[in-house]
């Protein structure tokens, strides 16, 4: 059961009891006063500034049993304060002291796990306040009442607020909880915890004293239970709970431990410091902020903030190897990751520079020199970044560990103080320790006499944070007289499953330096050996997993007790879709911002800030509005002409000439739903009002009970939970900020944690789908692991974009950077497979396909050979579950157009990149101007100049000075002249102009006429950037790029092929295609093999055919999608035909 459910239950029961004895549920003060009487508490009101409140808004005095509360607010708000304190009285029984930040009964039960929320909100005290908030909300407006009012009585939030005086925030959150989250499970669905017998290895570990102790705890051996036993044994000895510090590496682990301790030792638990290393680091930063030269509450910078800081100072960054003019954020993303990695290794900018310089000094060839120069570039950016951070007085994630560690190391006095305060240190998940957290731990634990750590090196799966299994093996070297022991009984798995993962473990790199894994199965033998199910094709693998799930369900394994664990999110999405299509419910959110129901809300939000109203292209597809495609086309045209805010024009759109009656009705309804909602409000308020007061969509969703529908509701809940949080560093319209943040999070892959299904939905009877990373710490009766083929699992090593300088990674000095990276990647992949195998209790099924889509053979994963034949049974072509007939597939869009016989090369290239984007941009004509950055404005000026040059060179030979003069006019008109770094951008432009002129020297330019290529399915028009003629009469078609040449695949882009084909059709053989890359000053002939040319010619024709047939599938890409103008509307399309003028 979800942790908050018992609290809600207490609150709802109290509410019901008081109402049954006469309290009025619509008078919150009445209810709270009745509760005070019933619980024999006392209530005292004081003026807000009364010193007895000590700055709090309300407090509960456990000794006297009194709630003391400020009397300033309205009755509804006052009731919320009192109800919060009654929550403390009911749940915690001890005193509480609640400042305004603590009391917010609308607060969600789950912090949105993005950005800084990852660090905060998980401490024991925060949890108490959250519990009291949830209690208050459930007591004042139980979910059953919220549901009845919203569904049966059709009351909106405003009406409930008017009748009760409760805040709209509280009512909204509670209504969302009541209607979007599934109802709590019946008691019987919650498995009773197994009660393990006496376990000598656990008890021995718990009782260890007087030296540092490392416990190696294999899967399922009860490490959390042992840690709790350790705490109990310390408490029994009279150790002060406030002297205990329990550190973990993940919020999930911290939350679980806090819950476990709160139920085992309720009085002591709130006094124990439990949290992640980062949360503890933050606490130290706040405690010793003056020693660190920071304010008492320094702003925290997450990755996107860091990139924003660097983007501001971009032109001053000395980038050569890492220069990317067009898309600086992508390079900065890598550099920020490299800086973060440096902080994990306790490497400050000075050391980074020294290591990089040493590399340069030792470099004997070009490759080594380039590698060193790249490191020096990063070192320089690192220095500037740190200066910028200091200017803001901020700290980033890496600082939360590195800075306190350095501070304590430099101050024996502070170290002693911290050691006196935190005398018993317990660390969970010790395998995830990296260099920085290891040093911080050493500073806190001193000689380690009272240090106790537990972990499993074979489950070290956070390589990107610098965690490596080697750190675990170094424990005995770090702490004198350290004892190392292991747990020996596995309580989770059958002996067959244990035998399989133990056999695998023997060959793992992470087993080096560890005690051998020798587990006894507490459960004894199970009904089946692990299976390896082999299919021909990947589609069959999906069908086979579906069949296997149904087969186990038939054997009594509920869907909720089965999990599919994938190595990659991409494969997970495919399997989720395949299972759902076969009627198997799945518990899987996938990428939250790509879900249809979430995109619907993003499109609604975009209407508030996008004056062109492109969101209508998706909104029209929502059943509630059902706008025909042709009508969407008409109104989006009209919005473009109107040039007013879309929300303001909305009421008039229904009268657009040529609309169908259905379209007019849909637009009228949309106007009713949205007009008057303030575009300046927060995304949460805007959507809450839309969903609860206007459209009634939540009411509709709440009445659907199929699990797939429930998952949609959960996704909406998760999204709303996300939009509640605002990033503190950005400015501008709140809704715009939310939309920008969504793009940024997807681009930086920081939205992954939002894929985690909220705890309140975990009990649904659906197959759990997750990545192996996400399955850590969990267990399932049946585990399905697909994709055991070479390069899928283990994945291949992609190398590092920004490798660290040699010598930075401690412990890897004997390896080259590439070797270290390869080795740690291999170890991590092994650990991932080990984690996947060991999640299974009884049934373990592994899947693989023999062939690739093109018929080539697909080799099995090398990992399979590590499991001896007798430990797993291989089954060839096992049963599959085919798709039922009548499942809808993507249907083409019917388009009629007056003239569609030709298309430009750039449009065809766009279709090649993403057909859907082509459809939105060139068929529907959507796409507001992209957000202009200083770079894009400089870039646009340069392209103007390229056009000018092409024109001018026909008749003359412009010099650099001529070009500069022409450019200056363009620059003044369109360039980023108002930008703080305008001079830097201008200098950069000059450099490129000079290259442009230099590479044109000695050539005779001719008119850059449009060239046609005729394909069977249509004509493509190519207009080359430059056309010149060599003295021998050869024509040069030159493509000019402002950026750098991409590596090997640069000339695989369709643009060059089209130049080639256009040249052939116009000039026969007397021409060459060249490319000019201005940034790295390369001009060279383009070579394309005849086979490639032939393939791309056929492909181009196929694309033309697809365009005519209305086929516009999406091409999802994690980098281009979040920057696409149509990101929020893709890929929904309204029904009907489209007739273009």
């Amino acid at each position: 059961m979800e942790a908050f459910e018992p609290i809600r239950d207490i609150a709802a029961r109290l509410h019901a009891e008081l109402v049954s004895t006469g309290a009025d549920p619509f008078k919150p003060m009445d209810l709270t006063e009745a509760a005070i009487r019933k619980l024999e508490l006392e209530l005292v009101w004081l003026e807000p500034e009364n010193p007895a409140l000590k700055g709090a808004r309300a407090l509960f005095d456990g000794q006297s049993g009194a709630v003391i509360c400020e009397n300033s607010a309205e009755p509804g708000d006052r009731a919320q304060l009192v109800a919060h304190e009654i929550g403390h009285a009911c749940i915690h029984s001890s005193s509480s002291f609640c400042a305004s930040a603590d009391i917010d009964p609308s607060r969600s039960t789950e912090a949105a796990p993005v950005g800084l929320q990852r660090v905060e909100d998980y401490g024991a005290r925060e949890r108490r306040e959250l519990q009291a908030n949830v209690f208050a909300r459930e007591f004042l407006l139980p979910r059953s009442l919220a549901r009845r009012l919203h569904i049966d009585e059709a009351w909106g939030v405003t009406k409930i607020a008017e009748r009760t005086g409760l805040s709209k925030h509280l009512i909204r959150q509670q209504t969302f909880d009541a209607l979007l989250l599934p109802p709590p499970p019946e008691e019987s669905t919650v498995a009773a915890p197994r009660r393990p017998r006496f376990d000598g290895s656990q008890d021995r570990a718990a009782a260890h004293r007087d030296s540092a102790f490392q416990l190696q705890a294999g899967p399922g051996t009860g490490k959390t239970r042992t840690l709790v036993k350790r705490v109990l044994s310390l408490l029994r000895e009279g150790v002060d709970p406030a002297a205990m510090l329990v550190l973990t590496f993940s919020n999930r682990a911290a939350g679980e431990l806090a819950e476990r301790l709160a139920s085992t030792v309720p009085d002591a638990a709130p006094h124990i410091w439990i949290g992640t290393f980062h949360a503890f680091g933050l606490d130290l930063v706040r405690r010793y902020h003056d020693s660190l030269g920071l304010s008492a509450d320094p702003p925290l910078f997450d990755r996107s903030d860091a990139i924003e800081v660097l983007e501001e100072i971009l032109p001053t960054l000395p980038l050569i190897h890492y220069r990317n003019l067009w898309d600086p954020a992508m390079v900065l993303r890598e550099i920020v990751a490299a800086i973060s990695r440096a902080k994990d290794e306790m490497t400050d900018p000075a050391r980074y520079r020294a290591l990089a310089q040493a590399m340069l000094d030792a470099a004997r060839d070009d490759d080594a020199r380039v590698a060193a120069e790249k490191c020096l570039e990063v070192a320089h950016v690192y220095e500037l970044y740190e200066q910028a951070l200091r200017k803001y007085g901020g700290v980033d994630f890496g600082d939360l560990i590195m800075r306190p560690a350095l501070l304590l190391e430099s101050s024996p006095e502070l170290q002693t103080i911290v050691q006196l305060r935190h005398r018993h240190v317990l660390v969970d998940e010790y395998q995830d320790v990296n260099r920085a957290s290891g040093r911080l731990l050493k500073a806190i634990a001193g000689d380690g006499k009272r240090l106790w750590v537990v972990g499993d090196s074979r489950q070290a799966i956070y390589r990107f944070r610098g965690a490596s299994s080697a750190n675990m093996a170094l424990f005995s070297a770090e702490y004198e007289n350290a004892a190392v022991d292991r747990l020996s009984i596995n309580y989770r798995s059958s002996s067959q499953v244990i035998d399989a993962f133990q056999a695998f473990a023997q060959r793992m790199g992470a087993s080096t330096g560890m005690l051998p894994l020798a587990l006894n199965a507490d459960r004894g033998s199970g009904p089946a050996l692990p299976q390896i199910r082999v299919f021909d094709m990947l589609d069959q693998e999906e069908e086979g997993i579906a069949a296997s799930i149904r087969e186990l369900e038939g054997a009594g394994v509920k869907l909720r007790d089965q999990a599919v664990l994938c190595r990659s999110n991409k494969r997970l999405n495919e399997i989720a879709a395949a299972l759902e299509a076969r009627g198997i419910p799945v518990l899987h959110l996938g990428s939250l911002f790509e879900r249809e129901e979430v995109r619907d809300l993003l499109a609604i939000l975009s209407l508030a800030v996008d004056r062109f109203g492109d969101g209508l292209a998706r909104i029209g597809a929502m059943p509630r509005y059902a706008l025909p495609l042709q009508d969407v086309y008409l109104v989006t045209r009209r919005l473009r002409e109107a040039d007013q805010k879309a929300l303001d024009v909305l009421p008039d759109l229904a009268s657009t000439t040529g609309l169908t009656p259905e379209g007019a009705a849909g637009l009228t309804l949309l106007a009713q739903d949205l007009v008057g909602l303030p575009a300046s409000s927060s995304a949460w308020e805007f959507l809450s009002a839309y969903l609860l007061d206007r459209s009634g969509l939540v009411r509709e969703m709440a009445q659907r009970e199929a699990i797939t529908d429930r998952m949609r509701s959960v996704a909406v809940w998760q999204f709303l939970n996300f939009v509640r949080e605002q990033s503190p560093t950005r400015s501008g319209l709140l809704i715009r900020r939310t939309l920008d943040r969504v793009r940024q999070l997807v681009l930086l892959a920081e939205e992954r944690d939002l894929r985690q299904v909220p705890a309140a939905a975990i009990h649904l009877n659906a197959v759990r789908l997750m990545t192996v990373h996400g399955s850590k710490g969990l267990e399932f009766e049946a585990v399905h692991i697909p994709g055991l083929t070479v390069s899928s699992f283990p994945t291949s090593n992609r190398g590092q974009r920004c490798p660290p300088p040699l010598g930075m990674i401690v412990g890897a000095e004997t390896l080259t950077i590439a070797e270290e990276s390869k080795q740690s990647q291999e170890h991590e992949e092994q650990c991932l497979f080990f984690v996947a195998l060991s999640r299974a209790c009884t049934y373990l099924r592994i899947y693989r396909a023999r062939f690739q889509e093109n018929g080539n053979k697909r080799s099995p994963s090398p990992f399979l050979a590590w499991i001896p034949k007798e430990r797993a049974v291989e089954i060839d072509n096992p049963p599959t579950l085919l798709l039922p007939p009548g499942v809808p597939r993507l249907t083409p869009i019917q388009i009629s157009q007056a003239s569609v016989d030709q298309i430009t090369d750039s449009r065809l290239s766009l279709y090649d990149k993403c057909p859907r984007r082509y459809f939105y941009t060139h068929v529907l004509g959507l796409g507001s101007a992209r957000k202009a950055t200083a770079f894009s404005r400089t870039h646009d000026c340069l392209y103007k100049l390229i056009d000018w040059l092409a024109d001018t060179r026909r008749t003359g030979n412009p010099t650099v000075a001529d070009a500069e003069a022409a450019f200056e006019v363009m620059w003044q008109a369109r360039g980023p002249t108002d930008h703080g770094f305008a001079a830097e951008y201008r200098r950069l432009a000059s450099r490129l102009i000079s290259a442009l002129i230099r590479f044109g020297a000695g050539q005779r330019f001719r008119d850059s006429e449009p060239l046609a290529i005729d394909f069977p399915n249509g004509r493509v028009i190519v207009k080359p950037d430059e056309m010149a003629e060599l003295p021998n009469g050869t024509v040069i078609l030159r493509r000019v790029r402002t950026g750098k040449k991409r590596h090997s695949d640069e000339y695989d882009r369709l643009d060059y092929t089209l130049y080639q084909l256009a040249g052939e059709s116009r000039f026969g053989s007397g021409f060459e295609v060249h490319a000019l890359h201005l940034t790295d000053e390369i001009s060279e002939p383009v070579e394309i093999t005849s086979k490639k040319l032939q393939n791309r010619r056929a492909n181009s024709d196929l694309m033309l055919k697809s365009i005519s047939a209305g086929q516009f599938p999406t091409k999802v890409d994690s980098v281009t999608c979040p920057r696409c103008p149509h990101f929020f509307i893709c890929a929904a399309t309204p029904m009907g035909r489209l007739a273009l003028p």
Binding site: A52, G55, S95
Partner: protein, 214 residues
């Protein structure tokens, strides 16, 4: 430290603690907390303060000639403890509020009362929970209390008068500040006068009159 028992007054516990080791360490602190669990927080703060004082003294010692009769460590511990004791005595004698920032550990005669007893005492004094919390948390300037009032408290809590006086004289305490996190410690306000405390506790006119008459 062997001479102390769990009922030993706090000042003796701290005295023994201060002398047990030149510099307190985790082991010693654990041992004392084990023996005197109700003083855990005070002992921890006291130990930390000893470390801070020692660091300060070391800085000063470096510029002074070493005393011959006693070792610097013993001398430092003794003077540290004497300073603390002086603070307590001064508070008792003058009823003055505590002014320095350091911890003065003093037993709290209200701390051991359970809810029933606490409410009974509230009823006898015709007070309310807010006013009682001010007494418990040392938020009233003892110099503004009548002797009669302090005597009455001593009588009702069955505590010696000097302990009651020391309690009121010690630094204000924040009862709920049990969760040690840097950003969440509510700050103890400066002390109120007795009259002010009576008037700002949400008491009825009648209750106020009674308390002011004591």
């Amino acid at each position: 430290m062997n001479q102390t028992t769990p009922n030993t007054p706090l000042r003796d516990v701290l005295y023994a603690f201060a002398l047990a080791k030149a510099k307190p360490d985790a082991e010693l602190l654990d041992e004392y907390v084990r023996r005197y669990p109700s003083h855990a927080a005070v002992l921890t703060d006291f130990a930390i303060e000893m470390v801070l004082d020692a660091a300060k003294d070391e800085l000063e010692d470096a510029s002074k000639p070493t005393a011959l009769e006693v070792t610097p460590t013993v001398s430092r511990v003794m003077s540290h403890f004497q300073n603390r004791l002086f603070d307590v005595r001064r508070a008792v004698m003058t009823g003055a509020g505590h002014t320095s920032g350091s911890v003065v550990p003093v037993a709290n005669p209200f701390a051991m009362l359970d809810r029933k007893a606490f409410r009974e005492l509230t009823r006898i004094l015709q007070a309310n929970p807010v006013f009682m919390a001010k007494l418990r948390d040392r938020e009233i300037d003892p110099g503004t209390m009548t002797d009669g009032f302090q005597r009455r408290i001593a009588e009702e809590t069955k505590a010696p008068l000097d302990l009651v006086a020391a309690h009121f004289g010690a630094r204000s305490e924040v009862c709920a500040g049990q969760f040690y996190k840097a950003d969440e410690k509510p700050t103890a306000a400066s002390k109120q006068s007795f009259e002010e405390a009576v008037k700002t506790s949400g008491l009825t006119e009648e209750q106020q009159r009674y308390l002011l008459s004591l």
